[in-house]
């Protein structure tokens, strides 16, 4: 039996998980349209590679990754691209973002795809395939998995698979583990190989005995060595990556430190599943499991195509008429979605239909009575009451001194607060104010540098002018002296070096001018308009070729040793 560690604090909110685990995962109906966001991951937004009106096949790439930290986006089914424009997206900002709208043709016609033998394929190729398949962390952080599956020169001892799913209401990982454990475990093996980790620990909260049993069975059946399925005590937020790492290994990963630096890497179970599907079957990330629960007639988990409009999904669970809003995620850390029209994204693990009866608005907050129940509940071992006082007083320097940025916004403090103070909102406010100030400070710094440089330049120009003037005056004086002398005085020891020096300077200036003239491109100076147009066209073609080359180089290049 493995010794488990504890993290500080934590709370036991009512789980509300049984509502959505009574029936197996259902395939959500094909929606009337798909609104696929191009920014469903951490990093740069994917760049659309299809045109409006183009027919696309299921699994065809419609957005390619831009830069290193980015991920691909694919057509979740076959159909026609009807729009590429700004739409509201499932994100807490409530701001619109670029989306590709796809009208399904109902044929669900796959693009040609095939898997690779993961044990025979070089690791760099596997990572490349993950990037190509748009696999990102499905626990909510949506960090590109290809980057996380790289140890970055650190020795990884332990790979942790996070199946804790500690947030109330959410059961998508639970159901996935119950039904598709074998693929998850296979995915874990691939990730372990990529990280060269010694052991794999799969942490699951002990309120999911079926999932624990299914995963253990999958490990036994697959005869996997060095994989351990561990039931951890149910305590929110045990599913926070840092908390789970602490529970399973005893290691505390401080804020701002990567767990890989301490020899641990952590993936969500659903990510491991997608890794396996992408590599062994060549299926890009087109759908995910979404729990639809709350104010619905039959709460359930659905396998949902990415981009499915929220309204069409919740209707299948029988969303009730008095639903006042849609929460994405759990009730502790979820976000209130801006609209029912947003498309499901890779980050959408759960939709809670909320009604005033189910989630009554909190009563007006009373003053803090310093009871420190928040501090007792805080898994980051902060002093939430101090942070609250400082944030309220807009003393942002102090909030940072009291480790504001170590706050993971799990909501445990606000959950236990007897004065019903919306503590997390104060922390978000303080953080955003600090970021804003940093941005302003940076802008001011840039402006200051620019101003200083300008002053410097003006000063330099002035000096140069003054020097030139002085030079001229000296020359004039010298000439006058020479003329006045009439008779040359070759033995003047002071005048001679001055004159030769001036001569040298003049020569140097003349040389430099000649060089500058020679360096100027002269062949385009006297072109006819026709010739100029031709040149421009050639340049444009060149740019396009460069772009295509960059694209294929970064992305489309086939794995070199596929056959291997």
């Amino acid at each position: 039996m493995r010794t488990l560690f504890q993290f500080h604090g934590g709370v036991h909110p009512p789980t509300h998980k049984t509502e959505s685990t009574r029936t197996p995962i259902a395939q959500a109906a094909l929606p009337s349209k798909l609104v696929v966001a191009l920014h469903q991951h951490v990093g740069n937004r994917a760049k659309p590679v299809v045109q409006v009106g183009e027919r696309v096949l299921k699994g065809q790439k419609i957005g390619r990754p831009e830069g290193k930290l980015s991920s691909a986006v694919h057509a979740p089914t076959s159909g026609t691209v009807s729009a590429i424009d700004m739409q509201l997206v499932a994100h807490q900002s409530g701001l619109p973002d670029l989306c590709i709208t796809l009208i399904p043709d109902g044929k669900d016609e796959w693009i040609a795809h095939s898997g690779v033998d993961t044990t025979q394929t070089p690791h760099s190729d596997l990572r490349h395939l993950l990037r190509k398949a748009g696999v990102v962390g499905l626990g909510g952080a949506v960090f590109p998995s290809d980057l996380k599956a790289d140890a970055h020169h650190h020795k990884i001892t332990t790979l942790i698979l996070n199946g804790a799913e500690c947030e109330p209401y959410i059961t998508c990982d639970d159901m996935l583990m119950r039904e598709r454990a074998a693929d998850i475990v296979s995915g874990a093996q691939v990730l372990r190989a990529l990280l060269q980790a010694e052991e794999v620990l799969i942490g699951i909260e002990d309120n999911k005995p079926e999932a624990v049993a299914a995963m253990q069975r999958a490990v036994q059946d697959g005869k996997h060595q060095g994989i351990e399925v561990i039931a951890v005590p149910t305590l929110y937020p045990s599913g926070g990556a840092k908390q789970l790492i602490r529970i399973l290994t005893g290691i505390e990963v401080a804020a701002g430190v990567r767990s890989t630096e301490m020899g641990v890497q952590c993936f969500n179970v659903a990510t491991a599943y997608s890794v396996w599907r992408a590599l062994a079957h060549g299926e890009p990330l087109l759908s995910r499991i979404v729990t639809v629960t709350g104010n619905v007639d039959h709460a359930q988990n659905f396998e949902v195509l990415l981009g499915t409009p929220l309204n069409e999904l919740v209707a299948q669970a029988g969303s009730r008429a008095d639903t006042s809003k849609h929460i994405m995620g759990g009730p502790m850390m979820g976000v209130d979605l801006p609209s029912g029209t947003v498309g499901i994204t890779k980050a959408t693990n759960c939709i809670i239909e909320a009604s005033p009866a189910l989630f009554p608005p909190p009563p007006p907050a009373l003053p803090c009575i310093r009871c420190t129940r928040c501090a007792e509940a805080c898994p980051a071992e902060l002093q939430p009451q101090e942070l609250y006082w400082f944030a309220k007083a807009r003393d942002f320097g102090k909030t940072q001194e009291y480790s504001l940025f170590d706050c993971i916004e799990c909501g445990a403090c606000a959950y236990v607060c007897p004065s019903q103070i919306p503590l997390v909102q104060y922390y978000r406010f303080a953080k955003s104010e600090i970021w804003q100030r940093e941005r302003e400070a940076q802008a001011a710094e840039v402006a200051r540098a620019r101003h200083e440089y300008r002053q410097l330049r003006i000063e330099r120009d002035k000096q140069e002018k003054a020097e030139k003037l002085a030079q001229k005056e000296r020359e004039a004086a010298a000439k006058a002296a020479a003329q006045a002398a009439a008779v040359p005085t070759p033995l003047d020891p002071l005048a001679a070096p001055d004159d030769t020096q001036q001569l040298r300077i003049n020569e140097a200036i003349a040389r430099a001018k000649a060089q500058a003239a020679a360096a100027q491109p002269k062949n385009t100076d006297t072109l006819t308009p026709q010739q100029q147009a031709e040149v421009a066209e050639i340049e444009a073609r060149r740019a396009k070729i460069r772009e295509m080359a960059a694209d294929s180089g970064a992305d489309d290049e086939p794995p070199k040793s596929n056959q291997g």
């Binding site: 009512p14 420190t372 129940r373 071992e381 480790s403 916004e409 909501g411 004065s419």
Partner: protein, 342 residues
């Protein structure tokens, strides 16, 4: 916009305060059993005064009445103050003490959550400084079999009617066990002689020791239901015990046992109900220990070497002053930043 978390635990300030009030009931019940129902009258009087003052101050400060009047914090202040002063205190003393506690020491500092000093102890301090004589007339327990006033006669006295013919206040009241011990020691008696006096029981004062046990029982209830943390009562009682123990060991003839100190005066009430006021005590675990140890040592020193009959109130207030400093100096290390990474 409302943002996460969207759920909260159904605890409230009002419930917490109510639990503390409930925890006082065993002590109050024993109080009534040993000293008669007069205490209930002063508790009621203090409660009414507290609520009226709270309402008036909220009105003046243009704050909503309902959420604050129903938070039970004013009631708790009233009960603690009533339990700290002699039950036969004239009605106006109860009113003045309570009104001062609520109006000045609570609302003038910003109301609930903002007062640096424990309001009940401020009320007590005002009374003992202003009316020291009245504050020493404690009821004698029934067990002593002395002259006792009927409830009607007690009420008559409390509300200004004077005592029945031929009786003086001294005849029906006495100093506390703690106070008697101090004055008798000053008169040159030894502890064993003093302890033989009829007012003393097994642990401390007859009757009052049982009330202290009642408060301890209520306090343990608060401890086990996690309304209060263990740090304050445990550290306080330990510090009081240790300080008293050192003196007692050095000179047992002149310094009473630590147990005597535990069960006399306001030690138990203070340990579980007064120091534990979250508003006026430190927030960190280490800070709570420092605060309580300081209060324990100060209680002993004021009791034994000071001029007041008990040291609890002033020890609390003195330590209240130190709370911001203690908090600032005892901030714990956060997750992952404790040095060794484990």
């Amino acid at each position: 916009m409302w943002s996460s978390p969207f759920i909260t635990q159904p605890t409230s300030v009002s419930q917490i305060m109510l639990r503390v009030l409930l925890a006082l009931i065993p002590g109050i019940a024993l109080y009534v059993w040993y000293f008669g129902p007069a205490i209930l009258v002063s508790i009621t009087l203090a409660s009414i005064t507290a609520l009226a003052t709270e309402a008036a101050m909220l009105k003046l400060r243009q704050r909503p009445l309902k959420p604050f009047l129903s938070d039970n914090s004013a009631l708790l202040t009233a009960w603690l103050l009533a339990l700290s002063i002699p039950p036969l205190a004239p009605w106006w003393m109860v009113v003045v003490g309570t009104a001062f506690a609520i109006a000045v020491s609570k609302h003038l500092y910003g109301g609930l959550g903002n007062n640096p000093f424990n309001p009940a102890m401020i009320g007590y301090a005002v009374l003992i400084i202003s009316f020291p004589v009245h504050m020493t007339h404690w009821l004698t327990p029934h067990a002593l079999g002395g002259i006792e006033l009927s409830f009607a006669e007690q009420m008559n006295y409390m509300f200004g009617g004077g005592l029945p013919q031929g009786l003086t206040l001294d005849a029906i009241t006495m100093a506390t066990a703690l106070d008697t011990m101090k004055t008798q020691l000053h008169l040159g008696l030894s502890i064993s002689d003093i302890r033989d006096m009829p007012i003393y029981g097994r642990l401390a004062g007859k009757g009052s020791e049982m009330v202290a046990i009642g408060f301890a029982i209520g306090g343990l209830y608060l401890l086990f239901t996690r309304i209060i943390s263990w740090h304050l009562p445990v550290a306080y009682l330990a510090a009081l015990f240790a300080t008293a123990g050192v003196f007692h060991l050095l000179d047992p003839a002149h310094y009473v046992t630590p147990l005597f100190h535990w069960f006399s005066g306001a030690a138990m009430l203070g340990a579980f109900f007064i120091l534990t006021d979250p508003v006026t005590s430190p927030t960190t675990a280490k800070g709570k220990l420092i605060f309580a140890v300081g209060a324990g040592v100060l209680t002993y020193l004021i009791r034994v070497f000071g001029g007041f009959p008990d040291g609890m109130a002033f020890a609390t207030l003195l330590m209240n002053i130190c709370v911001p400093l203690i908090d600032a100096w005892t901030q714990p290390k956060v997750f992952g930043k404790k040095g060794d990474g484990k």
